[in-house]
Every structure is written in structure tokens, then in C-alpha cells.
């Protein structure tokens, strides 16, 4: 049908009155899609029929409005009351469950936090202990290394000869030409001023003394010093803090010969 035929068919009027079969309704809705201008026709028909209904209105029975409003209110409050009651009950139940779960979560959280803190603290202790162990291990390895060096078969233990001005000097040189390492074992050293240190020297024939290790009194009585190949004699002097390039001969406290070793 074209639009004029649709308009004259009476289908639109019956569509508004709802007197069409489902198939006819679908047909009209198809026309409304194909011819959007028919929607204005539809609106005019609706307005006309609404006018008829308004004109033919009959006063609704008195009290009906209150009845309907009450029913809506009752349904709503019933629904609400019901749902409210159930809601309250379910709220009560779910509230209790939620409270229990919440409390449980809080407790668990608290313990987790505590546990986490404890774990963290234990981790810190562990790290400190590990550092301490590392330091101890390092110290022990050092001591072990010293022990190995000092007990090495080729190790020579040579006493320093104290000079007359420093007769109290009591030192030993642990000397090893194989490992090329030297240690001074301190049994006694003269006292130092705050601005002084001991300094080891290498004495070789026809050469100026070569400055070697500068050291203070070792706390553990043993100190590794430089091994200088070709040295005939090692000498120790008291020098200003930090050492010097040439020895202060009047401060010579002792010597030890390694010639021929």
C-alpha cells in the first residue's frame, strides 16, 4: 500500500483502538517505519480519541482514589514492610554475618599485620645476624689466613733487633719468600705521640731506604706489612703521622735481616 491507501484503510484508527490482530499491528508498525509522516496521523487520531474519552468521562466513584492510593501504599509499604521486615531480618542476619566476617577480617588483618611486622623484624634481625656472621666469617677467614701464613712451612720467624734508644722494642717478622707476604708480630713497641706512626723500610745494598708500610700499634698484635723482594734488611722508625719518604734515623727502633732467606 502507498501512504494514501494506508491513510484511507482505517488501519491507523484500529491500531490506536487496539483492535488489530498481531499481524496487522506488525504491518502498521512496518508502515510507520517506511512512512514516518504517518506518525503525525497517528498522533492526531490519538488526540481525537483522547478528546472523546475526556468528553465522555464519568465521575469515578467517590472514595476510589483513596482506595487505590491506600492499596498502592499498602503494596509499597507491604512490599517495603515485607521487604523491610525481610530486609531487617536479612539485614539482621546479613548484618550479623557481615559483622562477624568483618570482625574476623579485622582480627585476621591484625594478626597478618602483626605477623608481617614480626616477619619484617625477624628479617631485619636475620639481616643483622647475617651481616654480623659475614663480618665474623671475614674476621675468622682473616685470622685463618694469618694462621696459615704463620704456620706455612716456608714461613720464617725473625726477631727484630732493638736499637739502644728503644730497647723495649720486642717484634718478630714472619717472612715468607714463597708467598711473598710478611707480618709483624708485636710483643712490645715504644709509645707514640698522637702525631706519630711507625714506618717499615726496605734496605737494599747501595740503595736508599725504600719507604714501606706505615702502621700504628695493632690491636691484635699482628699486622701484615709489605713484602719487598730483594730486601736485605727491614727497619722500623717512628715517623710523623702518614710516614715519610726518607727515614728519621734517630727514631730507628729496630731492624731485622732477611738476607739469604
Amino acid at each position: 500500500m502507498d501512504i494514501a491507501e494506508i491513510r484511507s484503510s482505517g488501519l491507523l484508527e484500529l491500531y490506536v483502538i487496539d483492535q488489530l490482530s498481531p499481524a496487522e499491528k506488525a504491518e502498521v508498525e512496518g508502515y510507520l517505519t517506511s512512512y514516518p509522516e504517518l506518525r503525525e496521523d497517528l498522533k492526531e487520531i490519538e488526540r481525537s480519541l483522547e478528546f472523546v474519552a475526556m468528553s465522555a468521562a464519568k465521575p469515578a466513584p467517590p472514595g476510589l482514589k483513596a482506595k487505590i492510593l491506600d492499596e498502592i501504599k499498602n503494596n509499597a509499604s507491604g512490599g517495603n514492610a515485607s521487604s523491610g521486615h525481610n530486609g531487617s531480618a536479612s539485614f539482621g542476619m546479613s548484618g550479623m554475618i557481615a559483622a562477624v566476617v568483618g570482625a574476623g577480617l579485622l582480627v585476621v588483618s591484625f594478626f597478618l599485620v602483626q605477623k608481617n611486622n614480626t616477619v619484617y623484624q625477624l628479617q631485619q634481625i636475620l639481616i643483622a645476624q647475617r651481616d654480623s656472621c659475614d663480618q665474623s666469617t671475614q674476621a675468622l677467614n682473616y685470622q685463618l689466613d694469618l694462621l696459615r701464613q704463620l704456620t706455612y712451612p716456608e714461613n720464617k720467624i725473625l726477631p727484630f733487633q732493638a736499637t739502644p734508644g728503644y730497647a723495649s722494642t720486642d717484634l718478630y717478622l714472619h717472612y715468607n719468600v714463597v708467598t711473598k707476604r710478611s707480618f709483624i708480630q708485636v710483643r712490645n713497641l715504644p709509645a707514640l705521640a698522637a702525631n706519630q706512626s711507625f714506618q717499615l723500610w726496605s734496605l737494599k745494598p747501595n740503595q736508599a731506604p725504600a719507604p714501606l708500610t706505615v702502621f700504628d700499634i695493632p690491636s691484635n698484635g699482628l699486622i701484615e706489612v709489605a713484602f719487598e723482594a730483594g730486601t736485605d734488611t727491614y727497619a722500623i722508625t717512628i715517623e710523623p703521622k702518614g710516614g715519610r719518604e726518607t727515614p728519621t734515623l734517630e727514631n730507628l727502633i729496630g731492624t731485622v735481616s732477611v738476607a739469604g732467606i
Partner: protein, 177 residues
């Protein structure tokens, strides 16, 4: 609901009471109708029909469902159908009035009768044809012509009709407040 009722209850009651011919039962049906409307506002689709059309279809179908019940038909035998009396004036939302009686008087009685049977009493065209002893083609023609005449007259009265998605939104808002 109060707004909805104040504005439409009388018109819908006019429809359902004329379909049923029994004001007592019509009261119950109007109550059912208003509750269906109230509860079904979410389902109103303004792209398919105006709000009043949607409501009047609910009212008519609810009334026709009642009319089809055998218990109702047995009761109906003893009840007479009233004559349709049109309101002389209809107030618009803007405060103006439409002289409905004068306007409807412009319709030929035969045309108006078909319209009343089809729209206000819920008769099908076939039923109108049988009841008024009128050829079906004539019923169709008169129905369309009656509505066409009203359309022409009411084209200038568009402001009278409140509807569309805006109304639905207002009602939904009122409903859920």
C-alpha cells in the same frame, strides 16, 4: 498516583463503565486498571503510543477481559447500558476550555454512534455491524470518517494533550519519589 488519578480516572472510568455497563464492577476494573498503569509505567513506550492511548488500551482490555467472564455475562443480562452523556466543557492544562458538547454535536449521530461503540464500548467493527445492523464496510467508513472529522477540528487544540516521553519521565519521577 494522585496526579494520574485526578487527570485520567474519570476518562478511563467512562470507558470501562461503558464497556461493562455496570458501575459497581467498573469501579473494581478501574482500580485494577490504575494499579496496572501505576505498576507498568516503566513499560510505557512513547514511540509507540501516547500516554493516554497506552492507558486507555489497558483500561479497555482489562474491562473486556472482565466482560468475557461467564459470571459477568450472566450478571449483565439484568443490567441496562446507559446513554453516553458528554461533558459540556473540558478544561485544558492552560486554563482554557473546549466546548466538547458543541464540538461533538458537529458529528453526524450515525458517525458518533460508531465511534462510541468502537472506542467507548469496546465493540469490534464486526460487533458494531451486527449490533447496529449496519454493513461492515459502512462501519469502517464511518469510524474513520468520525475520527477524521475530530482530527480536523482538534488540530488547533494540540496544547490540550499532555503526553510523550516528558510525561512518562515526570510520572516515573513522581512514582519513585
Amino acid at each position: 498516583m494522585s496526579l494520574l488519578y485526578d487527570r485520567y480516572a474519570d476518562s478511563l472510568f467512562g470507558v470501562v463503565s461503558r464497556i461493562l455497563g455496570d458501575d459497581q464492577i467498573a469501579e473494581d476494573i478501574l482500580q485494577k486498571t490504575m494499579l496496572k498503569i501505576w505498576n507498568g509505567i516503566d513499560g510505557f513506550d512513547s514511540s509507540k503510543a501516547s500516554f493516554f492511548t497506552w492507558m486507555s488500551v489497558i483500561a479497555r482490555n482489562t474491562a473486556l477481559d472482565q466482560k468475557r467472564l461467564k459470571t459477568f455475562q450472566d450478571r449483565q443480562k439484568t443490567i441496562s447500558v446507559d446513554e453516553i452523556v458528554y461533558r459540556p466543557m473540558i478544561s485544558t492544562p492552560e486554563g482554557t476550555s473546549i466546548d466538547a458538547a458543541a464540538l461533538l454535536s458537529k458529528l453526524d449521530t450515525n458517525y458518533r454512534l460508531v465511534l462510541e461503540y468502537a472506542y467507548l464500548k469496546g465493540y469490534t467493527q464486526q460487533e458494531i455491524s451486527e449490533t447496529l445492523d449496519m454493513p461492515l464496510g459502512t462501519v469502517k467508513t464511518r469510524l474513520r470518517a468520525a475520527i477524521g472529522m475530530l482530527r480536523d477540528v482538534l488540530k488547533e487544540e494540540k496544547q490540550y494533550f499532555l503526553g510523550g516521553p516528558g510525561l512518562r519521565s515526570i510520572l516515573l519521577m513522581i512514582k519513585w519519589i
